[in-house]
């Protein structure tokens, strides 16, 4: 109705004219009525009075007319907002407390939501991300899940698929070691994070290069000239953004390679942030299940169809490789296709939603607090509201006004909260565990702002509706009659505030129990012996020899040994070694291990954790030798068929560790090794996981690990800069071109394995502390207010001979009654809610009685204090003063 909209504007702008017309109309009506009455013989003054009575209150009539006039809504709104702001300005301390409380709640919620949004909700930064899938395999037969592919699967899927538009293979390194290459010929030798891709990967992600071209299938063929693409960041830092870089040559792993393309600035491969170089994967030259795959589905194809399609293609592999028949049968290979985003996010969603829930509870407590404050304030404004009612304010209008004041309050709180969130987010990202994916996608964007606005309005309606509903119906007479002198405040009026306190205490208990459970989890984790000792004193780092050296393993051993000798000569080094991986660095492999006297016909042996180590690995890590002996250089250099197993593996087969000695195990039926030692268990998968059964092979069995070993050094000086400088010199005196990377103490990996737990713990503890603070402030406020309201009554009681102790008891009892109900409600709620935590807990049940009891006691204790302070003030009051005061 354009006419109506027009009239809204006309009325808004011609407000004064309309008001004047209304005045005129009412005046003329009054005159007409007076005239009528005077014609009936009444005097002018009597006629006037009767006429006024007949109209029934000029202001009420005016309000009635204004209410139907188009535009009245907008106009009322503007007036109510102005009025609300004036009210808020008048009560500075109330406003400050309420705004701060809200800002804390809204700010916290916004900060956590930005993380949820960035990590879980935002689509990946590729076009049409919905049709991108990660392609992996599950091998339930040997208990392996989300396995990578081998080039053989890649070729089959590429040629035979009916659901993939295209599939690409990529390589990011195996285990915990990120793929990286030595780059020389650009100043100092460098170790640059790299990515191997087949020609399909970039087109699948719909990434076009900023300069030059992408890889073609020809680049991917063995024997073609070596080509390389570089990322924007690498281009800027190494070539200063020089556009003539295309066609230039850099040495990668000692091979001259031509730069053919530069990737655009916004390009990010999955979650890799400091990628420098992309190389053709050349799948025909590769083998082994070391490669992940990304595919784009044909339009209209679903994930389920693609899974079925891959399931159809898996048996084709068998036709190609009949020799792998046994493995295929045992492993029971099934497809595991997931949306690409799911591949990137992993299982972090659980933690984030728990934190979101926690901070949501804090916001609810904050709302309850503000609602409680508002109820008190609106009680103080009864007279004002009554006057407004008497002057013709309709109940709806007054309630709307109160609600609007709350909304204005919420908006101010929300704006400040947004500032808090902005600051808090920085702290949060700094605190976040390094395995939190998509950290760089976290920020305050449009969706977050919209969320904040929504939460703010919702919060405003939530805490504003209580006083609005409660006092909208104030009768004109009732409020006016009741002056300041109120005897004990009516029970009914207190009921709402009491209910709020109960809710606050209950919610605070839920949060405190949650953080209590996390503390218990953390305690349990710390008390798990990881299997190694004093990890802060163990310094570790990787070096990486050029790949052509792997063809000369004898030379590699000599180089590694030379480095080791130099390191051992550093003062303060008590032990050193080199190995394929460091405990807990996720670098150990899982391979099937055969046991000679426990072979079951036609059954694949279970996969075991495998480390390739040098002598004194166990001494350096502090892993005890339970039976037998350590490896010796003699074993390694003479390639003697020996191995060492963990205690749990020995017990699994032979019950007694020493009975394992001399038994035969092997990686294949042609390669048997004798067990010469049994060592203590190590929680390689993190302290929250069972220690895996582990086999330690001599590192001389693996040319790959000899070419890229991890050195470990035990020294009281470990972790210091000066020590690392000496270590670097020791390495460079063997080969000045070697780059040291992944320089960390063993403690770094140990701490990292608990990072997610400690992050959750810190965040929930913060939420719990906020909840406790707000809850207690709420309780204190209610008790203090009721004491101030009852000072008259207390004065009478004391005048009549009540002892201070009696008064104290009276006040404290009231508060503790609420607390006990709140604790009861909270315990019930916590029992129902903590099971959502169960996947994050370790060594403690979600219903852990100790946590529940301790938290309830602590909360009750703090509540007692919150009641005691105002109670004591009440008893200090002189009865005479209390009585006179009223």
């Amino acid at each position: 109705m354009p006419k109506r909209i027009l009239s809204i504007f006309r009325n808004l702008f011609r407000k004064r004219a309309i008001e004047r017309a209304l005045d005129d109309e009412l005046r003329s009506t009054l005159e007409a009525l007076m005239q009528e009455k005077m014609e009936q013989g009444l005097s002018q003054s009597v006629a006037r009075r009767e006429a006024l009575m007949e109209i029934g209150g000029i202001e009420q009539v005016k309000e009635g007319v204004r209410a139907v006039r188009a535009g009245h809504f907008v106009e009322d709104l503007a007036r109510d907002i102005r009025y609300g702001l004036r009210q808020l300005r008048r009560n500075r301390s109330f406003t400050a407390v309420a705004v701060l409380t809200l800002a804390l709640g809204i700010g916290g919620t916004t900060a956590i939501f930005s993380v949820v949004n960035g990590v879980l909700l935002q689509p990946l930064p590729y076009s049409h991300p919905g049709s991108l899938v990660g392609v992996g395999l599950d091998l339930p037969g040997i208990n392996q899940f989300n396995w990578p592919l081998s080039p053989a699967e890649y070729f089959t899927f590429r040629e035979q698929s009916r659901t993939f538009q295209d599939i690409g293979l990529y390589y990011t390194g195996f285990g915990g070691n990120i793929y990286s290459v030595n780059v020389t010929g650009l100043g100092r030798p460098e170790h640059v994070p790299a990515l191997g891709v087949t020609d399909g990967v970039l087109p699948i992600l719909e990434v076009t290069p900023l300069l030059g071209r992408s890889f073609t299938r020809e680049d991917d063929e063995p024997g073609s000239s070596d080509t390389v693409m570089i990322t924007y960041g690498y281009w800027r830092s190494k070539f200063g953004g020089d556009r003539s870089v295309i066609g230039k040559t850099i040495d990668i792993e000692g091979k001259p390679s031509t730069i053919i393309g530069v990737l655009p600035q916004r390009f990010r491969f999955l979650d890799m942030t400091n990628l420098g170089i992309l190389l053709p994967l050349r799948p025909r030259t590769q083998r082994g299940y070391n490669y992940f795959a990304v595919a784009r589905l044909k339009p209209g194809r679903t994930l389920a169809e693609a899974n079925a399609d891959v399931a159809r293609m898996i048996p084709m592999q068998l036709e190609r490789f009949p020799e792998a028949a046994e493995f295929f049968k045992e492993a029971r290979i099934v497809p595991n296709l997931q949306p690409l985003k799911q591949y990137v996010i992993g299982d972090v969603g659980k933690v984030l939603w728990v934190l979101m829930g926690g901070i949501g509870l804090v916001l609810l407590i904050a709302c309850a607090n503000v609602a409680s404050l508002l109820l008190v304030r609106v009680e103080g404004r009864q007279q004002e509201l009554a006057i407004r009612a008497a002057l013709g304010g309709s109940p709806g209008r007054i309630a709307g006004g109160l609600l609007l004041e709350s909304l204005v309050l919420a908006m101010i709180g929300g704006a400040l909260g947004l500032l808090f969130a902005y600051g808090g987010l920085r702290v949060l990202i700094a605190l976040a565990p390094s395995d939190l994916p998509r950290l760089n996608d976290i920020g305050i964007d449009g969706l977050v702002l919209l969320f904040t606005l929504g939460v703010t309005i919702l919060a405003g309606l939530l805490f504003g509706s209580m006083p609005a509903l409660r006092y909208a119906g104030v009768r004109a007479g009732a409020g006016l009659r009741e002056t300041g002198r109120s005897v004990s405040a009516s029970r009914k009026r207190h009921r709402a505030r009491n209910a709020l306190v109960v809710i606050q205490v209950g919610l605070a208990l839920v949060l405190l129990v949650s953080s209590g459970l996390m503390i218990r989890t953390f305690q349990a984790l710390i008390h798990v012996q990881p299997g190694f000792t004093a990890p802060t004193e163990v310094e570790t780092f990787h070096v990486h020899f050029p790949p052509e050296m792997i063809k000369a393993p004898e030379r590699l051993v000599r180089m590694d040994q030379a480095i080791l000798d130099n390191i051992e000569a550093i003062p303060g080094v008590s032990s050193a070694d080199f190995s394929g991986a460091v405990p807990m660095d996720a670098g150990a492999e899982s391979d099937p291990v055969l046991v000679k006297d426990h072979m079951l016909q036609g059954q694949l042996p279970p996969a075991r954790k495998c480390f390739w180590v040098s002598p004194s690995f166990f001494r350096t890590m502090g892993i005890p030798i339970v039976a037998g002996r350590d490896l010796t250089w003699n074993d390694l250099l003479n390639k003697r068929p020996v191995a060492i197993v963990s205690e749990n593996l020995a017990r699994e087969y032979w019950h007694n560790p020493s009975d394992a000695l001399g038994k035969q195990i092997g990686g294949s039926p042609k390669d048997w090794r004798q067990i010469v030692g049994v060592v203590g268990n190590v929680h390689d998968d993190g302290t929250s996981q069972e220690a895996p059964a582990t086999v330690y092979w001599p590192i001389t069995d693996s040319d790959v690990f000899l070419g890229g070993p991890a050195f470990a050094i035990r020294s009281a000086r470990g972790g210091t800069q000066s020590f690392m400088n000496e270590v670097r010199r020791a390495v460079w005196s063997v080969d000045p071109d070697l780059a040291l990377y992944e320089v960390h103490t063993l403690d770094y990996y140990y701490t990292k394995s608990m990072a997610r737990t400690s992050f959750t713990l810190v965040m929930l503890a913060l939420a719990g502390a906020m909840a406790l603070l707000l809850g207690i402030v709420g309780l204190y406020g209610v008790i203090a207010y009721s004491v101030s309201q009852r000072s008259h009554e207390i004065g009478i009681r004391m005048a009549l001979g009540a002892q201070r102790r009696d008064v104290l008891k009276l006040v404290v009892k009231g508060g503790m009654g609420l607390t006990v109900i709140g604790v009861g409600v909270g315990v019930a709620a916590a029992l129902a809610l903590t099971r959502f935590l169960s996947s994050l807990l370790y060594g403690v049940k979600p219903t852990d009685p100790l946590t529940f009891v301790v938290v309830s006691l602590v909360l009750t204790g703090v509540a007692l204090f919150a009641c005691y302070v105002p109670a004591r003030r009440a008893t200090k009051a002189d009865p005479i003063v209390a009585l006179r005061y009223e």
């Binding site: 017309a21 003329s28 005159e31 009528e36 029934g56 009635g64 006039r69």
Partner: protein
Amino acid sequence: MGQKHTDLLRGTLDLLVLKALSLEPLHGVGISRRITQITKEAFTVSFGSLFPALHRMEERGWVEAEWRSSDNNRRAKYYRLTSAGRAQLKDEARRWNQVVKIMAAAVQST
């Protein structure tokens, strides 16, 4: 008309006002008196209800207002039925008759 019956009788009030205006333009007091007269003094409309109703009907385009001099040379705001208002009156009267018939039948049924 009591405040309590506003909701129930809002339609009725509109109908009465439209009816009152159907013969000639009237000002507020005139409408009030005319309603009292045509309902044989059964209803008196309070100004608290009448003016909001008039302004609402003006918003909807059923009535038009203009200032003119009354019988004794006082200026007053006169309300006049528009053609939309006449249609509305016809419509509401028809509906009202229907309701009366239905209600009468319902009340008389045993």
